[in-house]
Amino acid sequence: MKRQLILLGYEIKYAWLGIRRHFLLSLSALSAVAIALLLVGIFLIAGLHIEHFSNNVEDELLIHVVLDPSVVDQSELDSIRTKIQEIPNVVQVDFSSKEEELQLMIKEKGEAFAMYEGEQNPLGNAFFVSVAHGDDLSAVNSQIDMIQGVSSTAYGGISVRELVEMLKKVRTFAAIGIALLLVLSFYLIYNTIRTTIYSRSDDIIIMRQVGAENSFVKRPFEIEGLMISLCGALLPFMLIWWIYPKFYETMNGRLFASVFELIKPNTIALWCFGLMIGTAAIIGILASFLAVTKYLKVKR
């Protein structure tokens, strides 16, 4: 075990020497990985947000039904409630008194509306109607609109939903682009390791001559590929780690006129770190392993 650790130390040393010797080649592979993973990171952040927004929109399948201020009688309220409940696809109907409506308005639009509290409250009572699916919103809304005593109806989410749908399409195209970039990164690392193997053929002969085991000959190349890809991942990760919190702070945690809530920087950092380092490690190990297997034949 101790010997293996000592050997690993030397293998890392020779991997580093390999990178130094082919610095420009290593740099080009590293840059490709960095650019690809920066895009992966941006794509990940966008993807996480699209998912986050979609969930929020799904949670808000509500129609706000405002009644005429004249509708105050309990029997009238019960009658309207029953009519709404009878509409197909209506899941739940919750009553919101005009006092509660005013509190919502104060919360949303500011303390200035507090002056209407009490007898001067001009608002009507209301219902919050939940529907089963987003597609039912429009139809249910029209039917509620026709009930006598209903002053107005409103539901959010149409424009948001369209935006989310559009972003999902963009996501598909972005995924294809990123996949191509990852293939390019893979090829560049593969090529770097192949070139390193060729240029170090004399070293390899000497290694074998002095009794190096095949694993000692091969491993520095594999470590070199891993080092290049991990460094390539670290740069865009640091960039995102630095920029995203600033963006979050500037936007005050919300996006599109406060419609969407942004994901917290720590969550983003964790996701980016895991995905970017994981992707880099897989690309680096796989590309260098394949290059070593193909171009560094085991000889006596």
């Binding site: 030397y10 002095v210 085991e213 006596r300």
Partner: protein, 228 residues
């Protein structure tokens, strides 16, 4: 001990490099192997260091049958055989001490042990003052001394020298042969030296084996070309 019994080696292109060679070299011997180009000298070296396997016969080195040696056992076997070459084969990006240490790093020796061993070797090959120099800053003779240092760093029982003086002037060649004699004398290392240098063979008389067309045509303890 090195023992070749009825060894034959042919290459796929039909060239018979060695034919029914019988040879025995005792521990601690210093032997010259001479012969024209294509006489089988290089093949003999490849058989001894396990790079090639004989088609017929057996090659026994230090009690190990090299022909039947499993692939994974070859590296350990090679640690007992040092090799030096006409073209030095040093690692250009490593200093003198790093080149010598390289042979010890591949076997997983600790840094501290390597440091001590490298110091001993540098003293032996008289290159202590050049420890931090790179190969291209050294003369041919100095580079060959580094190669010898690297070859004996593992304290091998056998040292194979393939034309070690081929690129050197007579004065430097003398230095190298004296160094090899010193290693042979001080450590009892068996030395098999392939050479074309008639002057050296005549001056430092040792057992001399001559190969011609893959056959051993002469094997004498008297030594020297003039004795032929």
């Amino acid at each position: 001990m090195i023992e070749l019994t009825n060894v034959t080696k042919a290459y796929p292109n039909g060239v018979h490099a060695l034919n029914h060679v019988d040879l025995k070299i005792e521990d601690g011997e210093f032997v010259y192997v001479i012969g024209a180009t294509g006489s089988g000298k290089s093949t003999l070296i490849k058989l001894l260091n396990g790079e090639e396997v004989a088609d017929e016969g057996t090659v026994i080195v230090n009690g190990v049958n090299v022909g039947t040696l499993k692939h994974r056992k070859v590296p350990a076997y090679r640690r007992n055989i040092g090799c030096i070459f006409q073209d030095y084969r040093l690692l250009p990006k490593l200093t003198v001490q790093e080149n010598i240490a390289f042979a010890l790093e591949v076997i997983g020796m600790s840094k501290k042990a390597i440091k001590n061993r490298v110091r001993e070797i540098l003293d032996l090959v008289d290159l202590r003052d050049k420890a931090r120099s790179y190969p291209d800053e050294l003369s041919g003779g100095q580079q060959q001394r580094v190669t010898i240092g690297r070859a004996i760093a593992n304290r091998p029982k056998i040292l194979i020298a393939d034309e070690p003086t081929g690129n050197l002037d007579p004065e430097k060649s003398l230095e190298i042969i004296r160094l090899l004699e010193k290693i042979n004398h001080n450590f009892g290392t068996t030395i098999v030296m392939v050479t074309h240098d008639k002057e050296l063979v005549d001056r430092f008389k040792k057992r001399t084996i001559i190969l011609d067309g893959g056959y051993v045509i002469h094997d004498s303890n008297i030594g020297g070309y003039k004795s032929l």
